[in-house]
C-alpha cells in the first residue's frame, strides 16, 4: 500500500463495504499511521446495496475521518437497469463494471486498490498483486507482468492504470481470523439475525425494500440467517445460520463445506464469467 502511495500520482481505494474491504481499510489505517491514508475511498453504488451496508459505509467514513467518493451510473439508472428485469449479467455490467470505469476516468485515478483474493475464484488465482490495465481498463491475462519477490513494477504510461490487490494471498478464513484478532468492525449483515427472506431458485434472498416484487407462490418468511458475502441484495444469497458472534462465524467457517461465492448469483451466469468480466474491466 505504501508502495502505491509513494509511486502513483492519484491512487484510490475501492471500498465495497464488505468484510474484505473492511480488512483492507484497516490495513491502510495501520500502514500509514499516524498519518491518514493519502487517498480517498471510492464506492461504486449500484443503488441495490443493502440499506445496512450504506449506513455502515457512512458511519465508517465518519469514524475514521476519511474522504469518500460515491459513484452511481446515472445513465444506467435512467435506462432503468435493475437486477430483477435486466438479469444479473446486464445489471452487473452496467451498474458495476461500466460505473467503475466511469468513476476511474472521471477522477483520473492511476491506481486503484481492490479487496480481491486469489482463493476466491479460478481466474483470480492468476491475478497479479499489481495488475496492469490498459487505457480501456481491460485485463490481458496472457500478457501480465512477471512479479518477482516483493518488487512491484509500478510504471505506466498516461491513461493506463494499475489495480492493486493487497489481500491477494489471504484466504477467507484468514480474513475472519484477522477480523476477530483485530476486532475490526463489519456490517451487521454478517451476523445471524431473523430477517425477512424469500426462497427463489434455491437461494435465500432478503427482502430489503419494496422494489422486490414477489412472484406467485413466493412467501416472505422470517428466518435466522446471515450472509457470507455482500453485494446487491437481490443477487446475494443468505445462509441459515445461528452464528451471531465473530467466534461463531469462525467456528462455522472452519466446518464450512461450500465456498463463499456460491451465494453470488453473478458468477454462475455463464462459464468463465469471472474471467470475461475481468477482461472487460471488472475487479
Amino acid at each position: 500500500m505504501r508502495e502505491v502511495a509513494a509511486e502513483f500520482a492519484n491512487p484510490v481505494m475501492l471500498y465495497s463495504i464488505g468484510k474484505d474491504s473492511s480488512v483492507m481499510l484497516h490495513l491502510a489505517m495501520k500502514a500509514f499511521y499516524p498519518a491518514k491514508p493519502p487517498f480517498p475511498l471510492l464506492h461504486v453504488d449500484t443503488t441495490w446495496k443493502f440499506q445496512e451496508m450504506i449506513r455502515f459505509r457512512d458511519e465508517t467514513v465518519k469514524r475514521l475521518g476519511l474522504k469518500l467518493l460515491v459513484h452511481i451510473n446515472e445513465d444506467g439508472v435512467k435506462r432503468g437497469v435493475n437486477p430483477f428485469d435486466s438479469g444479473s449479467a446486464l445489471h452487473t455490467q452496467v451498474m458495476k463494471t461500466e460505473a467503475l470505469k466511469q468513476a476511474l476516468d472521471k477522477y483520473g485515478f492511476d491506481a486503484a486498490f481492490g479487496g480481491a483474493r486469489r482463493d476466491e475464484e479460478k481466474s483470480r488465482a492468476k491475478e497479479r498483486v499489481f495488475s496492469f490495465r490498459n487505457a480501456n481498463h481491460a485485463w490481458d491475462p496472457k500478457n501480465q507482468r512477471p512479479e518477482l519477490w516483493r518488487v512491484y513494477n509500478t510504471r505506466i504510461n498516461k491513461g493506463e492504470s494499475i489495480r492493486v490487490f493487497p489481500l491477494s494471498n489471504w484466504t477467507e478464513l484468514d480474513i475472519w481470523q484477522y477480523i476477530l484478532a483485530e476486532n475490526i468492525p463489519i456490517v451487521p449483515l454478517y451476523f445471524a439475525k431473523k430477517r425477512p427472506v424469500v426462497e427463489r431458485d434455491g437461494t435465500l434472498i432478503m427482502v430489503d425494500d419494496d422494489r422486490m416484487k414477489l412472484k406467485s407462490g413466493e412467501e416472505i418468511e422470517n428466518r435466522l440467517v446471515r450472509f457470507r458475502t455482500l453485494g446487491c441484495y437481490p443477487l446475494t444469497g443468505a445462509i441459515d445460520s445461528d452464528a451471531d458472534t465473530l467466534e461463531g462465524i469462525v467456528t462455522e467457517m472452519f466446518t464450512a463445506r461450500t465456498s463463499e461465492r456460491q451465494g453470488r448469483l453473478i458468477d454462475s451466469d455463464e462459464k468463465s464469467s469471472m474471467e470475461k468480466k475481468k477482461k472487460e474491466g471488472y475487479f
Binding site: M29, A31, A35, D119, Q144, R145, L148, Q177, E247
Partner: protein
Amino acid sequence: MNAPTDLAKFLAAQEKKSLLRFLTCGSVDDGKSTLIGRLLYDSKLLFEDHLATLEKDSKKHGTTGGDIDFALLVDGLEAEREQGITIDVAYRFFATDKRKFIVADTPGHEQYTRNMATGASNSDLAVILIDARKGVLIQTRRHAYIASLLGIRHVVLAVNKIDLVGYSQKAFDAIVGEFSAFAEKLGFASIMPIPISARFGDNVITASENLPWYVGPALLEHLEIVDVETGLAAKPFRFPVQWVNRPNLDFRGFSGTVVGGRVRAGDTVAVAKSGKTSTVKRIVTMDGDLDEAAAGAAVTLVLADEIDISRGDVLSAPTARPDVSEQFAAHLLWMAEDELLPGRQYLMKLGTATVPVQITALKHKIDVNTLDQHAAKTLQLNEVGYGNFSTSQPVAFDAYRDNRDMGGFILIDRFSNATVGAGMIDFGLRRATNVHWQALDVDKRARAEQKGQKPAVLWFTGLSGSGKSTIANLVEKALLAEGRHTYLLDGDNVRHGLNRDLGFTDADRVENIRRVGEVAKLFVDAGLIVLTSFISPFRSERRMARELVGAAEFIEIYIDTPIEVCIQRDPKGLYQKAKAGEIKNFTGISSPYEAPQSAELRIETVTGDAATHAAAIVRYLRERGYIS
C-alpha cells in the same frame, strides 16, 4: 465443534502453524495441476460447489475418461481449459493441522519459464515433477537450475505417473540418479525424491501400498515437516525506506518493512548511501510503540536526529552495512520477447529504489542443460546470463544469496514499462569506488567562451537516404563560414574507424550509438558544435544520448522522409540490396525505425531543397542563442 473452548484451541493452533510457500514445476503433461488438485481434494479442502463444478467439467473437458480430472480445478483460464496446459502461474492455498501452504502452480512450457521464475522468487521449496516414463528432460534441468538461481534451497523430486511404469523401483532409481548427478552443481540444501501417482493418489497424502519398496514419507508428510528456515532475523539489520511519513510538522517517520535482522529502540542505524548515523527513538505502529522489530515486520521508525533520508534509502546496522556502489556483477534472467541490448539504458528497481542501469559487460550466458558458459552479446527470452551492471547513481545492496530483498531486482523497459528482466546480485565491483573524476582547471565554459559560441549537439536522425548527411554537411559549411567551431560525426565514417568492430544487429546498433554519444559529449565539453548523422533508429538510444550530453545541449533533428521516397532515391543502392535479401537488419526493411515523438526540429524533405532545410536549422540555432 463445541465453541468457544474448541475455538480458542483452534485459533491457538492456527497461530502456531508455520507457512510454507512452495512451487510445483516440471514439463508439459507431467501432471502438476493434477497433483495440486489431488492435494486439495485429498486434504478435504474442496468446497461442495467446487466439487460439483469439477464433476460437470470433467465430463466435458476431462482427459481422464469421465473420472474426476483434478487438473481442471487449477487450470483457471479459458484458453488453458481448452488446450489442456497451464499457461500462467496460479496461487493456491491450503492448510493441514500442521502447516499452512501457498502453492505456486507454474507453467511447464518453455516459453513460460519467466512465470516459473516468478513463482520461484517467492518460494522456499520446489516440487519438481518428472514423468516416470520420460525421465529427466531439458525443462527439468532448466527448472532445477532456475529454482537454484532464485535461491530455492530445498527440492522435492516427485517422480510422477509411477503407475505407468508398473511401480518400478528400477525406473525410479535411474531417474533419481540422473537428476542427482545434475543437481550436484546447484547446491541445494536438500533433495527429497518421492515416487507418486497424482492421478491415483499414491504417496501424495499417505504412503502407498503399491510402492512397498519405498520407505520415505509421502509428499504431504514431507511438506509438513521439512525445515526451510533461512535465519533472516539473525542477519544484519536492513530497512529499505518505502515512504516518509509526515502527517504534520511534529512527526517525521520512515515507513517500511524490516527485510533483515532486527532493530530495537535506542539502536544506532546508518543510512547506507550517505553514511550518516542516528539512533532509533521510536518504533511506531497503530497498536502502540514496539521495543523491537524483526525481519518481516512493517513499522515506522522515528530517529533522534534530523538527517536527510528519502524513499530508496536503506537503514542498516552501522557495523554491518550493505555494499554501496554503482557497479556490480549479477545473474540476469531475460523475460521479454525483445532481446537484451547491452549498452541500452533500462530502469532497475531494487527494493524501494529505482535507478537507470546499463549492462556494461555481458560476460557469458549459461546453458541450462550442462551449466556450461558461452560467450554472448545479447540474451533472448528465457535465457540466463551473467555480467557487470552500471547504475547512474550508487545503490545499496547485499548479495542475493545473503538477502533476497536486498539483492533481487527487476529491469523495466523505459518505453513500454514492461518488466523485462530479473536480476540477482552476486557482488559489488570495487572498481567503482577507485575511479574518481579528475578535476580539471579549464572547463567547458572557458573553452566555449574562447570560441564565442554555446556548445551543442545537433543529432540528425532519419532513415537511410533521408538526406541527413547532405543537410548536416550544408549546416556545418554554413557554420564554418560564420567562423564557428564545429565537428561532424558521420555514421558511415565512424564505422570505418572507432566502430569498425560493430555490425548491424540491434545490440551492435545500441553500442554504436552509445560510443557516438560519448564522443559527442567530449566534443561538447571541448566547446564545439557537434553534428551527428546516424540513422539511430531506437528511441531508447536517442534518449540515452540526450541524457548523456544533457538536455539543454541536445537538439534532436528528425529528417522526416517517407520510406517510399528513400527507396526511390536510394543513393547508395542499399535498399535494392536489402530488398533482395543481400543486406540483413536494414532499417526500414528488416529492422524497425522508431520515429521521434518530440524532436526539437522536424524537417520534411518532400518539399524544399537541402539548402533551405540547412538554413532553417542555422536560423533555429541563432534564435535559441547557440550562435550570436
